[in-house]
């Protein structure tokens, strides 16, 4: 069992799709929260295979898309300092700030490096004692444990030239914000499987209850996505709205105890601005008092951040599922994957970037 090809089996996919087609009798709008799920849907062409009545709405589960503009601008300012090596996940390099992106800073001489893991950044701090290594710690609850462990290690080993620029966001408050919006059209939700691997599923039962919406904890391989959709549709057609776990192999109900314990020690809840949406109370994490010495925001005086979104960008409305990307006036014109106005066009699974592909016609014939 390799946990990969088995969950992409085309024959089993066909069975799941057939069952979805057989079950659906009315139009339904289903939101997948996680950007990784959006990516998987597009990557495998799943949206093409669903019944016409099932509409997929891409939610705000893409940390690239929702990292607040001020955080990006702050990262850009810090990266521009000569003593700093700014380390980042690859996803963030092309996200536009108010005036430029990290690639732009790099081209002007800023030391910006892509890393796979925050531990790589810590290692850079050890091998470059004369430089300040800053790690741009974005992400949801899936990524926070890695960042927590890294700063915990830095503290234990006394690596003083390392700091974190933290911009973590939390899924349940965002889901609540989306579902409580008066213009919300979401009938069912696919919850982010790997966020739940860490945090457990407990937060979602009350949300399903309060908003009357089925919530299905869903994975990322093709069969996982299809099963998540199948269970959602099944509940919708039978008038239920429960929390179910369709990804049990990787999600125990209590999540990862050790990770949650460290998260409680390293981070504390804070209000967070979600790019394009606004401030959501208690929707983010920042370093706790004990670890504040590693906070890059405090270590580097980068004053006068004047975060200005292009007026034309409507990514916030897209992130909440209120408009489709092609309903934005700049879509495909001033705003394209090569010239993004907002993060939803940059990210490989941002809704606008995904739509830039949807809009093209043509159903290819079979290859012989």
């Amino acid at each position: 069992m390799r946990y990969l090809e088995e969950f992409a089996d085309p024959d089993l996919a066909r069975r799941l799709l057939d069952r979805i087609h057989a079950t659906v009798t009315r139009p339904w709008a289903i939101m997948e929260v996680c950007g990784g799920q959006t990516h998987a849907i597009i990557r495998h062409g799943i949206d093409q295979l669903l019944p016409d009545g099932v509409e997929l709405i891409h939610g705000p589960g893409c940390p690239v898309c929702v990292t607040p503009l001020e955080s990006i601008d702050r990262a850009l300012a810090i990266a521009g300092r000569p003593e700093v090596i700014l380390c980042s996940f690859g996803d963030m390099l092309r996200v536009p700030g108010s005036r430029e992106d990290l690639f732009g800073v790099k081209s002007r001489g800023g030391d910006v490096r892509v890393v796979y893991s925050p531990l790589d950044a810590l290692q850079l701090a050890r091998t470059n004692p004369d430089r300040q290594v800053v790690f741009f710690a974005v992400g949801f609850e899936t990524t926070a444990p890695a960042n927590a462990m890294t700063v915990h290690q830095a503290d234990r080993l006394g690596i003083g030239n390392f700091s974190l620029l933290v911009s973590h966001v939390l899924v349940p408050p965002a889901v609540a914000a989306v579902l409580s919006s008066p213009s919300c059209r979401v009938d069912a939700l696919l919850a982010a499987g790997h966020v739940c691997s860490v945090m457990g599923t407990g937060a979602y039962g009350p949300l399903a209850e309060r908003y009357g919406v089925p919530i299905v904890v869903t994975g990322f391989e093709p069969l996982d996505i299809l099963e998540g959709l199948r269970q959602a549709v099944d509940q919708l057609e039978s008038g239920r709205h429960e929390l179910v776990n369709a990804y049990p192999r990787a999600v125990p109900a209590e999540g990862n105890r050790a990770a949650r314990a460290l998260l409680r020690e390293v981070f504390e809840v804070t209000d967070r601005t979600w790019r394009g949406i606004g401030v959501i109370t208690a929707s983010g994490w920042r370093l706790s008092e004990r670890y504040r010495g590693f906070d890059a925001e405090l270590r580097f005086e980068v004053g006068g951040i004047d975060a200005v979104e292009p007026a034309a960008c409507r990514s916030g409305e897209v992130l909440q599922g209120l408009i489709k990307p092609d309903e934005c006036g700049e879509f495909g014109r001033a705003c394209t994957p090569r010239t993004p106005l907002g993060a939803t066009m940059v990210s490989s699974e941002g809704a606008c970037a995904a739509y830039h592909r949807y809009r093209r016609p043509g159903t290819p014939g079979d290859v012989r």
């Binding site: 089993l12 796979y116 899936t142 069969l223 125990p252």
Partner: protein, 86 residues
């Protein structure tokens, strides 16, 4: 936020007080931090995200899930299901 990949634990060790593992991803090897999964051992499969194992994969659960998918088709055939659908 969720690009996590399954890998098999080949060997474990301690590095600076942190439990690390050499994980095999189909021939690709990567060093992974195991500190969040104190009970996993060699030959277990884990989900790895940005260099950290965040959860152990439960093989029984995975097999059950696949069996359920396979059973879907059988049920349809028995009931004369989707083959008749538009």
């Amino acid at each position: 936020m969720c690009l996590a990949v399954p890998g098999r634990i080949v060997a474990t060790r301690d590095a600076d007080g942190v439990r690390m593992a050499d994980v095999d991803f189909g021939g690709i090897r990567k060093d992974v931090c195991l500190q969040f999964l104190p009970e996993v051992k060699v030959d277990d499969y884990v989900m790895v995200h940005v260099g950290f194992a965040i959860q152990r994969l439960d093989e029984r659960s995975a097999l059950d899930t696949l069996e359920r998918f396979a059973a879907l088709g059988i049920l349809d055939e028995e009931l004369g299901g989707p083959a008749d659908s538009p």
